[in-house]
Structure formats: structure tokens, C-alpha cells
């Protein structure tokens, strides 16, 4: 790539000091740094994050297609709320032993959106260290949930990123606690979006809780296997590791809510802890409210 080097402003006013002390870079410098991003060589089928076009394609055409179309029969609302360009952070509720929600959201954007874009799914660092997962997870579009990764994707590469602020607390929760949102961390995702000047898009997923109900968590087995958690589901551990994919055919409903723009929130909103918490709370409330509405409207778990 021969980057279009346009500006040199900011070279002297932004020396290599502590990241925390550095003010937001000037607009022009930002553009220049974006121009300097390495291009993906056309011969390559793997990108710099480790995402493999080939592996993703195979998964998309087989397993995910099957689950999306025939097993969960996904129904999508408000796909137009996913912006067609610029960075956007999708925020969703989370559930299921091996959560199917992320793959379905990615597939919905790929299939239903007028200008589909790849979705980057943030996952725990745990997966990078676990053999097998470590190999597969980045290839299908997952990145470790490191603030620097999210920032680069949203701000520099202006891509779509999906986060589950509930994190492990969401997937650990049992069937009896379904559709009750857990705490939204410390609002780190809102901070990341603000710093990246990205839009926040709340997403509600109904059906995943019934598709992969967790009846109990086996602490001892979790410690023995070194996994994040060891859920007891209808098929796991009964059918072995593949039992993780033994989803029940619940009807999936995905609803993308109206995006929240972080640009108009002041000069440096990310450092305003109060504002960050307020926005995080509001997003949580909106998702919870819509979840209640969607579950209330649903006549059957299996047929919608």
C-alpha cells in the first residue's frame, strides 16, 4: 500500500508519553494514522486479526446457515439500525452454554443488512489460551475483549464490534434466571465507544435462553477441565464436547434498537465516569424493557 500521507501535524505535540495523559489526537492526525493502517494484500485469505475468509465461509455456509434458517428460524427486526459505515459497537444480552447468540447476530447482519459488513465478536482472553479454541476462534471473526483491540477496530478500522457486557455472568446464569440481565460490568464498553466516537447499537436476542438452557454449573468439573465454566445442559456433558452444540430448536427473535451516538456527548465524555454509568444503565434498561416486551408477545417458545 502506498498510503496517502497528507499531514504531519501533531507529530511534535503528541510525543510518546503516557497514554492516560494524552489528549484526544487532533482530527487531521487521526485521518493520517488511519491512512497508515496496513492494507490487506489481495492474495491473502487471512486478515491481520487472524480472521480466515475460507474457514468463516465454510462455517457460514454449513453450520451457521443451518441453525439460522432451519433450526432457530431467526426473525430480525430493525436491521436498519446497524450503521452502514463507521465504527459501531453492538451491545447484546448473552446466554447459553456455548452461546449461539453471537453467531446469529453476525449472520443476521450478513444476510439481512443492505450493506453487510463483517462483525467482530469480542470474547474472553481465556479462549486465546485454550488449545483448539485458540486456533478456531479468531478464524471465524472473534477477537479478545481487550480495550485496545476494541478501540482499533472501532476507531481506526471503523468496523462493527459486538460486545456482551454481561460477559461470563450472562452465560453462567441458569435457566430459571432467564431474560434477567446481569450487571453491565463497569461500563467499559461505553467508554470504548465514546473514545472511538462510535455509535452504540443495543441488540435484544430472544430464544437463546431456551435453546441452550443451563440447569446447573459443576464447579468441580470446571476446575478439573480448566474451562471457563462447566454447565449441565440437556446434552452436555452427556454427548461429549459436541453436546455443546446440542441446541433445542427454540424460535429466535433478534431486535436491533435505535443507535445511540456518542459524538455529541461533550469533548471528552469517556473520562466522565458518571456519564459513562448513566449511558450504560440506559442501554441496559432499554434492552431489558425490549426483552420483556418480546417475551411477553411470544406465544410459543418453539414457534414464536
Amino acid at each position: 500500500m502506498t498510503p496517502d500521507r497528507t499531514s504531519l501535524s501533531g507529530r511534535d505535540d503528541a510525543p510518546a508519553t503516557d497514554a492516560d495523559e494524552r489528549p484526544l489526537p487532533a482530527r487531521r492526525e487521526v485521518e493520517r494514522m488511519r491512512d497508515l493502517l496496513p492494507a490487506i494484500e489481495p492474495e491473502r485469505r487471512v486478515d491481520d486479526w487472524g480472521r480466515s475468509e475460507r474457514v468463516e465461509g465454510v462455517f457460514d455456509a454449513t453450520l451457521i446457515e443451518f441453525f439460522y434458517r432451519y433450526w432457530f428460524r431467526c426473525e430480525v427486526e430493525g436491521i436498519e439500525h446497524v450503521p452502514s459505515d463507521g465504527g459501531a459497537l453492538l451491545v447484546s444480552n448473552h446466554s447459553g452454554a456455548l452461546p449461539p447468540d453471537a453467531a446469529m447476530i453476525a449472520k443476521a447482519i450478513r444476510d439481512e443488512h443492505p450493506q453487510p459488513r463483517p462483525l467482530n465478536i469480542t470474547v474472553e482472553h481465556f479462549f486465546k489460551g485454550y488449545p483448539g479454541f485458540s486456533m478456531l476462534i479468531p478464524k471465524i471473526g472473534c477477537v479478545a475483549a481487550h480495550p485496545a483491540n476494541v478501540h482499533r477496530l472501532l476507531f481506526d478500522e471503523r468496523q462493527l464490534v459486538l460486545v456482551f457486557p454481561e460477559g461470563r455472568k450472562g452465560t453462567e446464569k441458569l435457566y430459571k434466571e432467564r431474560y434477567r440481565l446481569r450487571r453491565f460490568g463497569r461500563g467499559g464498553f461505553v467508554e470504548a465507544a465514546m473514545r472511538a466516537e462510535a455509535k452504540l447499537v443495543p441488540v435484544c436476542v430472544v430464544g437463546a435462553e431456551e435453546a441452550a438452557p443451563v440447569f446447573a454449573q459443576a464447579k468441580l468439573l470446571q476446575r478439573m477441565t480448566g474451562l471457563l465454566y462447566f454447565p449441565i445442559t440437556p446434552t452436555f456433558p452427556l454427548l461429549g464436547p459436541l453436546g455443546m452444540l446440542g441446541y433445542l430448536p427454540a424460535k429466535f427473535k433478534l431486535r436491533f434498537l435505535e443507535p445511540i451516538d456518542t459524538v455529541g456527548m461533550g469533548s471528552d465524555p469517556a473520562s466522565d465516569k458518571g456519564l459513562v454509568q448513566t449511558v450504560a444503565q440506559e442501554i441496559r434498561a432499554r434492552i431489558q424493557e425490549n426483552l420483556h416486551e418480546m417475551v411477553g408477545e411470544r406465544k410459543s417458545v418453539w414457534f414464536g
Partner: protein, 373 residues
């Protein structure tokens, strides 16, 4: 283009204040030699002095070699006597398999402190200090970001001896930079280098018929071509770029992709747990598998290279091209083996060529008939 850009243009296009008299440490290392060769082609550099405790390994025409260990009093005398304005510190050992740990520590930490002490005395003529560091500074852990930027601290304390040394050496350089405000201090952190002339642990591994991988892992790898390393050092020597910069080529590849580009086959035999424990017996069997590489084979590492590119540095190769070039070398190596002449330093001949009044030191002649054949 706005006038703002034009102003910026003149600001950095301007060559460095005065890079005229250069001291290269570690002249006999591959990097020191290559760098001195590169600097010799710049007529505006009057003097190039190289120090090392071994004889030079590369042919040089006008670089003066002084055999000296890393004693700061001696180096300080050289610096003052020759009025050195730029010191390029290219001694760093980054592979624990090439040097014994004690010697590596001696060179990387104590050596750096000595060189810095030699540059930091009152009234020192040194105005620029370039330190060749390594991406081992960042280490390699499970919870690393996908792309390290220069302002990131490593999340965990260093796990291997080499990493500890590099962190310590950089801390010394930082302190030096803080204390000496009139010196431009540049730190270049190089990622894994690949190239035909360099026998790194990665090169050795890729030279095997089957490339070992850790079972269940496909780490991301980034490389930089050996020529780009020399160019980056040269760039830092000739321009004023204070601060720390990552040097890594565009593009981060998956290890499986690298193996494919080299036309090799992967051999996923290393156990996913206790990889470090198996490294020791493997080393005893002759495998070149240093400690600092163990985690790289599991988690990989990527660097953000934009800061250096923003100073108008242009890489000659991407990571992918670097690997392809290296693949070509691997295929050619059996054919060319032994045909490249090796160089031995002859002290008397070199001194005669540099100092005898009978040698005609004409620039044109020099380009026709290089000295020191």
C-alpha cells in the same frame, strides 16, 4: 494541500541537525556491520567509528574500527576525542540461544549502561542516541492486545531472562533521555527478523522439513525483513525522531499461513500444556527453541507500525513478502552453499588502506576499487 501541511512538510523533511560523526556500537554484529556499510554511502557523514570486542565481520571501506569492550571510560574517551554527535547502539542480544545468559545480561544491561554513561558526561558532544531494542519488550501473554502500540506497558512482569534484560536496558535509556534534554533519544523495537543472512531461531525453525507447531494453536506472527531493519536504523540515524518506535512490517500472518507460503508442512506435535517444560529437553537434543519463543508459538504477537511510518519511513517488504523472500532463500540455499565468499578482518591491511599516505583516497577510485578486499 493546506499551508499547514506544507509547514509540516518542511519540518520533517529537513535532515537531522548534524549527523556527521557517528559511533556504531556492536560493529561486529550483523546489524552493526550492515549499518556501517549503509552509513558509508552517505557522503555528508564525515566519520564512522565502530567499536566492538570482536573483529568486524563485514567488509567496510571507511569505517574505523576500535577494538574495545563496553568499558565506559574508554568509550567516553573515543566519544570526546572524535567529537561524536550520534551514537547508534546496535549491540542488543535478543536470542537467548546465541549467547549464554550471563554474557547476554552483561552485554544488554551493563553494556547499555556503560554506553549511556559514556554519552551522558558533562560537555559530551553527543546529540543523538539510537537504541536498537526488541519487541520482546512487550513479552507475549494470553491477555495481550492484538497490536501493541509504543505507549503500552507490558501487562505482566517479564518471564524470561532476555525479556528482563531488554526491559531493564530500555528503562536505562528512558532515564538517560529524561536527564539529557539536549539529546534526541530514539528507541526502535524490532519484531522478529527474517532474512537470508540471518540465522535466527525462527529461521532455523522454518528451515526444518516439517515446521513444529503447538497442538491446537495457530499464533499470529509478524516479521520484518533484514534490509528494513538496517533502513530503520539508518532512518533514525539521519532524521530526528525522538521517542520509541515499533519496527514491524505491514501484515500479521497466521503461522499456518507462513508455513503455507514457505511450501512446508506443519507438524503440530508440541504439547499445548507444559510447552515450556518440553523446551528444555528439546534444546538439549539440539533444537533451537529459546524460552522467549515458547509463548510466541502459542499466543503470537502483533505490533502497530504506524508511528514509524508517520515519520516517512517506508518498508520495503510486507510480512508476507518477507516470508516469501525467505522461502526463496531456503530453496536456493542448497544450490548456492559455499559459493559466497566469507570475509575475514585483516587488521594491518585495513589500517594500511586507511592511513598510509601512499593510498590514493579519491572518492572515484574508492567506488571503482573498494578497499579492503
Amino acid at each position: 494541500m493546506s499551508e499547514h501541511d506544507a509547514a509540516g512538510e518542511t519540518m520533517t523533511r529537513q535532515p537531522a541537525h548534524t549527523t556527521k560523526r557517528v559511533l556504531v556500537t556492536g560493529l561486529s554484529t550483523y546489524w552493526g556491520g550492515r549499518l556501517a556499510q549503509a552509513l558509508e554511502s552517505h557522503p555528508e557523514i564525515e566519520t564512522i567509528i565502530g567499536v566492538d570486542n570482536r573483529d568486524p565481520t563485514r567488509e567496510l571501506t571507511r569505517t574505523e574500527f576500535v577494538k574495545v569492550s563496553n568499558q565506559h571510560s574508554l568509550i567516553q574517551r573515543i566519544v570526546t576525542a572524535a567529537e561524536i554527535d550520534t551514537v547508534i547502539d546496535s549491540r542488543l542480544v535478543v536470542d537467548s540461544m546465541t549467547t549464554a545468559p550471563r554474557l547476554a545480561h552483561e552485554n544488554n544491561v551493563i553494556g547499555t549502561m556503560n554506553i549511556l554513561a559514556a554519552c551522558a558526561t558533562g560537555g559530551s558532544p553527543v546529540r543523538k542516541y539510537v537504541f536498537k531494542s526488541s519487541a520482546h519488550y512487550y513479552g507475549c501473554e494470553q491477555d495481550d492486545p492484538a497490536f501493541f502500540t509504543e505507549d503500552m506497558r507490558r501487562p505482566h512482569s517479564p518471564g524470561t531472562a532476555i525479556e528482563r534484560d531488554i526491559v531493564e536496558a530500555e528503562a536505562a535509556v528512558d532515564e538517560f533521555a529524561d536527564r539529557s534534554s539536549n539529546v534526541t533519544a530514539t528507541v526502535l523495537r524490532f519484531t522478529n527478523v527474517l532474512g537470508p543472512h540471518l540465522a535466527t531461531s525462527h529461521a532455523r525453525m522454518f528451515g526444518l522439513p516439517l515446521v513444529p507447531m503447538v497442538l491446537g494453536f495457530d499464533p499470529r506472527c509478524q516479521f520484518v525483513h533484514e534490509d528494513d531493519v538496517v533502513h530503520a536504523l539508518e532512518h533514525a540515524a539521519l532524521h530526528d525522531i525522538p521517542g520509541t518506535y515499533n519496527v514491524a512490517a505491514d501484515g500479521v500472518l497466521a503461522l499456518s499461513e507462513v508455513i503455507g507460503l514457505l511450501g512446508k508442512r506443519p507438524l503440530p506435535v508440541l504439547p499445548p500444556w507444559g510447552t515450556g517444560a518440553i523446551a528444555a529437553p528439546l534444546r538439549r537434543l539440539g533444537a533451537r527453541f529459546p524460552d522467549e519463543m515458547v509463548n510466541q508459538l502459542r499466543f503470537g504477537r502483533g505490533l502497530d507500525n504506524r508511528k514509524l511510518k508517520a515519520t516517512y519511513f517506508a518498508y520495503g517488504y510486507t510480512s508476507r513478502e518477507t516470508v516469501q523472500k525467505f522461502g526463496e532463500h531456503l530453496r536456493l540455499h542448497p544450490v548456492l552453499r559455499g559459493s559466497e565468499g566469507s570475509y575475514t578482518y585483516e587488521k594491518e591491511v585495513e589500517e594500511f588502506l586507511r592511513w598510509s599516505p601512499h593510498v590514493q583516497r579519491d572518492d572515484e577510485r574508492a567506488s571503482e576499487e573498494p578497499f579492503g578486499i
